[in-house]
Amino acid sequence: MNELEHLDEGQHVALVDLVNRLMDRGVVVSGEVVISVADVDLLYLNLNLLLSSVETVLSPSSASERAPEAPPEPER
């Protein structure tokens, strides 16, 4: 992931938006997502090591389990 070391701010935000959209939005057909919590954590950890803004990457809830106190879904 060397490409992530030289992102300008716009690219950085776009990357965070990509990850948020694919991992936290989009239609969930089955009512659950078949990805382990560990895999999701690893994804965010790997991105986190290379992105400067810790908070924006760490905030989404995990894809496969959603605890009641997790951040709310995008709402109307």
Partner: protein, 224 residues
């Protein structure tokens, strides 16, 4: 041999010849009820990494066509057999059809309003003293409340400027300190220029704010 789902599209909308997706797998389409799905044959659920996320997004973007906007699936929708996938889609076909109508000919933009003057980090976590935890939470709530008040005001102003070009909105909770608002806008393709111009006006009015606009995206935020 399982099935990995990328998106839901109108019936009879097929992928271009040779399109590949996650792990280079060919992308095919299948009619289900009154819609169609784009999928790949995959042995197991794909682990999320940047390359796979991008591959998924690329397939969804390839599904855009004149007047057609795909309904993106979240990353990771894998099914051990085609029948399970089909029956789950059938079960909500009416909802998907309606969503496809709502998003047809449109794209998503994501906007964040950030106050660069806000502290970059949240207050430090409390020490182990009794009552410190409660005081800390009250502090965080106070800060959030103040930020959100301004966020709501800015949101109203933004709506008055871009409202004509936005057909639907989803509001997300701000996800970082200093972030006043985070919204997703659904914008018709032929109104994107006018929308961007309106965002430009908003930016000019608030030189103290960082207005981060990303897109166009497939409408991940506008599913049923």
């Amino acid at each position: 041999m399982g099935f990995y789902l990328y998106c839901i599209v109108p019936r009879d909308h097929a992928p271009p010849e040779g399109l590949t997706g996650v792990d280079g797998a060919p992308v095919t389409s299948r009619g289900v009820d009154r819609v169609a799905i784009w999928e790949s044959d995959l042995d197991r659920p794909p682990r999320p990494d940047l390359e796979r996320l991008r591959a998924h997004d690329r397939v969804v973007r390839a599904a855009f066509s004149a007047g057609i906007t795909p309904l993106p699936a979240r990353f990771g929708q894998w099914f051990p057999d085609g029948g399970t996938l089909s029956s789950r889609i059938s079960g909500s076909a009416g909802l998907y059809e309606e969503a496809l109508r709502n998003i047809a000919g449109a794209v998503e933009f994501g906007m964040r309003l950030i106050d660069p003057a806000a502290p970059a980090r949240p207050p430090p976590p409390p020490s182990e003293e009794a009552g410190a935890g409660k005081a800390y939470l009250r502090q965080v709530a106070q800060r959030r409340k103040g930020g959100n008040g301004r966020g709501r005001e800015l949101g109203r102003e933004l709506r008055s400027l871009v409202g004509s070009w936005v057909t639907d909105t989803r509001v997300a909770s701000p996800s970082a300190s200093g972030e006043l608002a985070q919204v997703a806008h659904l914008v018709r393709v032929d109104e994107v220029d006018a929308y961007r111009a309106a965002v430009g006006v908003f930016r000019e009015r608030h030189p103290d704010l960082r207005v981060s606009l990303t897109g166009p995206w497939p409408p991940y935020s506008f599913g049923p």
